[in-house]
Symmetry: C2
Subunit: 181 residues, 2 copies
DNA sequence: GCTAATCATGTAATTAATTACATGTTTCAA
DNA sequence: TTGAAACATGTAATTAATTACATGATTAGC
């Protein structure tokens, strides 16, 4: 059997993105550069084979188009079966807390005393990183959701961007709590 | 070559845990049940083969012991080379922001309008989940770090537990912001 | 007109991680 | 005393994910 594993979440992300609008594999790969990339990552080398399997499974179909003289594109669309699968997934409970895989936090864990001279530089480095990320997310919010109407039209997107902003704000606050200068 | 990939972080976690005290593979697997499990997960089926490879690489060694009549145990210890590798890893910058892979947030992203009736039940489910986790972490903090001296002796552990608590507290606050009842 | 960036699609090789299979010992509680 | 839970170690099979290899077209700027 060449079926798709139960916990492969990328397939659902692809279904969700194609439900927003028909897209190419290239477009799907680029989607991870915006907010959804805060919560999942995938390379084109994982996406193209998965699109093939999902099409074989009857969840999506594609239409061949040509851009310019001869640049071939495959525009993928949801089938009604794919749409059903997406709705089922969103409707299911999500009872799992996935570990966050934060390498800095892992390193902190192995530091024994508060006198360790590595702590403060590490905190400063992370503060810079998360402050930069916070600034980036805030400017994204201003450009993507400048009006109340924009919020309305992509409410889920607004929510997860707001969540990412709060997360970074709180991370910065936590780091500041332990910074001595 | 049967070398270990550059980004395999589990090896560093194992080095760090063995630096705390000599342990068996079984002990290492159990370690993910406490706070470090909030930030990484690994099964014994991944740990045992990795211990073998790390020993082949000269980073750790083991001593065979027997518990009771004949229960064989392998007590692993860091070599000085393994200790160096741990120190190098902790001292390196950690400039990567890893996506958090929160399935609930992924689902939210695909909800179009604030009138969608699925939103409120989903928020309530997550609130229950994260409130339970927050309560658990707070009680862990009370039992593991009852005194200031306890904090001193495992400061990194204290920091990451505090971080996990703040994270859950903030998650609960964020969910509450969008709950209408 | 050139050239770099971006668009576009794929495969191959490897590593990381999960789930299932497999076996045996010791301890604790009913 | 017996049965379940926990201790203890491994391998096999599969899937997920990353990195590298591979090719070609179009667009935007110099």
């Amino acid at each position: 059997m060449a079926s798709i594993g139960q916990r492969n979440r990328l397939q659902y992300i692809i279904l969700g993105l194609l439900n927003q609008r028909p897209q190419t594999g290239y477009d799907l790969a680029k989607a991870f550069e915006n907010e959804i990339g805060e919560f999942w990552q995938a390379q084109h080398s994982q996406i193209y084979p998965l699109l093939r399997r999902m099409e074989d499974a009857g969840e999506i179909t594609h239409e061949d188009t040509v851009a310019g003289e001869k640049l071939a594109k495959k525009q993928y669309t949801l089938t009604s079966s794919g749409h059903d699968k997406l709705v089922d997934w969103v409707s299911e409970p999500s009872p799992e807390l996935t570990p966050s895989k934060d390498e800095f936090i892992l390193k902190l864990y192995f530091i024994k005393t508060d006198a360790d001279p590595r702590i403060q530089p590490m905190l400063r480095e992370q503060l810079r990183l998360h402050q930069t990320q916070l600034d980036h997310l805030k400017s994204r919010q201003e450009t993507v959701f400048p009006t109340a109407a924009a919020k309305q039209q992509a409410y889920g997107h607004y929510l997860i961007l707001d969540h990412a902003i709060e997360r970074e704000r709180d991370y910065v606050a936590w780091l500041s709590k332990y910074l001595t200068d």
